[in-house]
């Protein structure tokens, strides 16, 4: 049973607390440019969507990495991990990821990619809206499915 960082864009209010929590956890300061999660807002629609590494099972970044710096973790389930020591900063992972979820940060000479903060993702803790959830893979879509199921419950409920 592994945990998944699930995104619920419908609940996102565009507050960027996730970015602040991520950058603070990794750098001890507030630099949203350094955040591994990025929340994009479309002001006209008033809609924001947070995006971070989806820890792909068959990850493009792992496939292209020449040194094995990008690798599936042997110790933690459902995590594509980054080995800073063997990474040569070729940036092939950033080219390969189709979602743009790995990026090279010149300021710190690192590859920025969600690492789920040792299994207790800060973005999830700081999100005030439940738009980010760290949840057992079995329960990943439960909240969403149940919310809709509840509409049927209301429709069919007998009134005494």
């Amino acid at each position: 049973m592994a945990k998944v960082l699930m995104i619920h864009p419908d609940k996102c209010t565009g507050c960027h607390n996730c970015e602040l929590a991520c950058s603070f956890e990794h750098e001890g300061q507030f630099r949203p440019a350094a955040s591994r999660v990025q929340a994009y807002t479309w002001e006209r629609e008033g809609m924001t969507v947070p995006m971070m590494c989806q820890q792909c099972d068959d990850a493009a970044c792992v496939k292209v990495c020449p040194t094995g710096a990008m690798h599936r973790s042997a110790t933690r389930a459902n995590l594509v991990d980054w080995n800073e020591q063997v990474c040569i900063r070729c940036k092939m992972c950033t080219v390969a990821c189709p979602f743009g979820n790995a990026r090279y940060d010149a300021a710190s000479s690192s590859i920025f990619k969600c690492d789920t903060c040792q299994g207790a993702p800060e973005c999830v803790t700081f999100c005030p809206s439940g738009a980010l959830e760290f949840v057992d893979d079995e329960q990943q879509v439960r909240s969403r499915k149940k919310a809709y199921a509840a509409k049927f419950r209301e429709a069919f409920q007998e009134v005494s």
Partner: protein, 601 residues
């Protein structure tokens, strides 16, 4: 520096020069930032006699030390200038994301001086600053302006801009950021327009540093818990928005109706937050670092008033609603969208239209004056049309855009302008709630509720309760609120965080961020300093104790119907004690001893 960036950016639009200065740590410590620091800059650098729409006025955009951190709901900034509406030391507060971006670009304040020869916009990318030609953007509404500026700078740049109202230098013009957030009041948008400055785009890749990260995180987690546990901060505002206030003010009998002719509006429920949530709400929205999410993303399907945007807030729903005798929420929401697009203050414009409606119904103006429109209370189409005209500066709308004081005075009846110091009072009838009346009368920028929101105690039971009908103790209540709010505003926090936290939590977070140890007393003293600083400026404008008053209507004409029927505001019972507790003389002038105590000159 921690919390602060240590740099102030100064742009002279006349000379086209850009300079950087170090933030004075002593000033930062004593004035915090935003409203306080901006106010100090104005007092130090601008001659009080300056024409507010002339090149010698300065326009300061300033975030606070919290801005850009995850202090809960603390991502705000202020626009500070000499306010064209009434000459005061105007400080207009806004949320969104613009303030934090200024911090990430590296700035504690942006000071705009002079006047550009032709329309320009400013592009700030970290330490690369450009003054660029805005000829192709001038004339556009704030939504299109934002898109156009982004297309030329960065698609994710945060943009603060004026719309047509600011370009026309309308006294009610505001400055919009992120399309839907407003530095709304006192005509700050007109100052930006008078400088030929159409927009400011900012992109910042830097960091805001924290002095004691562990202490800060602990303080923030605690503050978040308190706000989330609070029924308002934790749930109510997200569910219903500020518009939820319509019904409670109405049930108390203090919902100003038809230009403050009454305090009760029978069909008010149609314009309240419950109705908004059921009909127009798309989803809630939060400003940068916010955990409260009071923002409303809304749409109107009714083809007559179709639109999509944000709002209305309570004040806006009131201004275009009960104050105009209107209960059509689609139309009210549309008026709000128009104000955002044109960049004009919803509170003042709603109240000004209401004033015009009363003048019209009393026969002091006719359809000849109003471009043929029957501008009567309850005329929904007229209200929306006049809103649009005001934004455009078209016909009678151009007069409306100058505010109700000048409008009513021009027709020989200033007594129908519901203003204090020429700025329109918001949506709480002081005849039904005594303490807010004292706040309106003594407010440093004129009619304003946020500067000393005693409603929280007098009506909303937030942590304490005081009978709204009595005057005892209201002077002390007002002063506490005014001081706390001034410090809170200057730190970059949102007023709504006080639904959950107060001075102790704010002082603790501030200490942890900046590394400067602030006690609760020191925090409140900073607020008192900032309040007095604004008062000193206003004295230079010729404001005297005679101006610390309310319209005659509120002192003499009782509310006609509803639960507060028969009440008037008894300002005279509160004002002397207010001056005394403030350490001012009986003319409302801060004493030398008080100024010395606050290190103010």
């Amino acid at each position: 520096m921690f919390g602060w960036t240590g740099t102030i950016l100064r742009v002279d639009l006349t000379k086209g020069t850009i300079t950087r200065e170090a933030t004075d740590p002593k000033l930062a410590r004593d004035y915090l930032g935003a409203r306080g620091l901006g106010g100090h800059i104005l007092r130090s650098e601008v001659d009080p006699k300056t024409d507010s729409l002339g090149p010698d006025n300065k326009l300061v955009f300033a975030p606070g030390p919290f801005t850009g951190t995850f202090a809960p709901s603390a991502g705000r900034f202020n626009v500070v200038t000499k306010g064209p509406l009434n000459g005061v030391l105007a400080a207009s507060n806004s949320g969104g994301s613009f303030g934090p971006e200024l911090k990430y670009a590296g700035y504690d304040a942006l000071i705009i001086e002079g006047k550009a020869a032709k329309p320009v916009y400013l592009w700030i990318k970290d330490d690369q600053i450009e003054i660029r030609d805005a000829a192709a953007i001038w004339g556009h509404n704030t939504l299109d302006t934002t898109d156009l500026v982004r297309a030329e700078t960065d698609e994710d740049a945060k943009v603060s801009c004026i719309g047509p109202a600011g370009e026309h230098q309308a006294l009610l013009a505001c400055i919009m950021n992120e399309m839907h957030r407003a530095a709304g009041r006192t005509g700050v948008g007109a100052v930006m327009g008078s400088k030929n400055l159409k927009a400011i785009a900012v992109s910042g890749s830097g960091a805001v540093k924290v002095a004691d990260p562990e202490r800060f995180k602990a303080a923030v987690m605690k503050a978040r818990k308190l706000i989330q546990a609070h029924p308002v901060g934790g749930a109510g505002l997200k569910a219903y928005g500020t518009d939820v206030l319509v019904n409670i003010l109405n049930q108390v009998g203090a919902l100003p109706t038809r230009n403050y002719q009454d305090g009760y509006f029978p069909t008010a429920d149609k314009t309240g937050g419950e109705s908004l949530a059921a009909k127009q709400l798309v989803r809630p929205k939060g400003c940068f670092s916010c955990i409260i999410s009071c923002g409303r993303v809304t749409k109107v399907d009714n083809p007559a008033y179709a639109g999509y945007g944000e709002g209305p807030e309570y004040e806006s729903a009131w201004g275009f609603g009960s104050d105009c005798g209107i209960d059509d929420l689609d139309a009210i929401t549309k008026a709000n969208f128009l104000c955002n697009e044109y960049g004009i203050d919803t509170i003042s414009l709603g109240s000004t239209i209401a004033c015009a409606m009363e003048l019209f119904e009393r026969g002091f103006i006719t359809a000849k004056d109003t471009d043929g429109v029957q501008l009567t209370f309850g005329n929904v189409a007229a209200m929306v049309e006049m809103t649009r005209k005001a934004g455009e500066g078209e016909g009678f709308g151009a007069k409306l855009a100058q505010g109700s004081y000048r409008l009513a005075e021009s027709y020989g009846h200033p007594e129908y302008s519901m203003t204090c110091k020429k700025q329109e009072m918001p949506a709480y009838d002081p005849r039904g709630v005594q303490g807010i009346g004292l706040n309106y009368a003594t407010g440093n920028r004129g009619g304003c509720h946020v500067r000393g929101y005693t409603i929280a105690i007098e009506v909303l039971q937030n942590g304490a309760v005081m009978d709204p009908r009595i005057t005892e103790g209201k002077a002390g209540l007002d002063i506490t609120f005014q001081n706390l709010t001034a410090a809170l505003d200057s730190a970059g926090a949102c007023l709504f965080s006080t639904f959950g936290i107060g001075a102790p939590e704010l002082a603790e977070m501030l200490s942890a961020v900046t590394g400067v140890e602030y006690s609760v007393d020191e925090f409140m003293k900073i607020g008192e300093r900032i309040w007095n600083q604004e008062r000193l400026w206003n004295l230079t404008q010729g404001y005297t104790t005679a101006d610390d008053t309310l319209p005659e209507r509120l002192l003499k004409d009782p509310i006609k119907t509803g639960p507060a029927k028969g009440e008037v505001n008894r300002l005279g019972e509160m004002l002397p004690e207010y001056y005394q507790l403030r350490g001012w003389d009986d003319k409302g002038v801060p004493s030398k001893a008080k100024l010395k105590e606050l290190s103010l000159n």
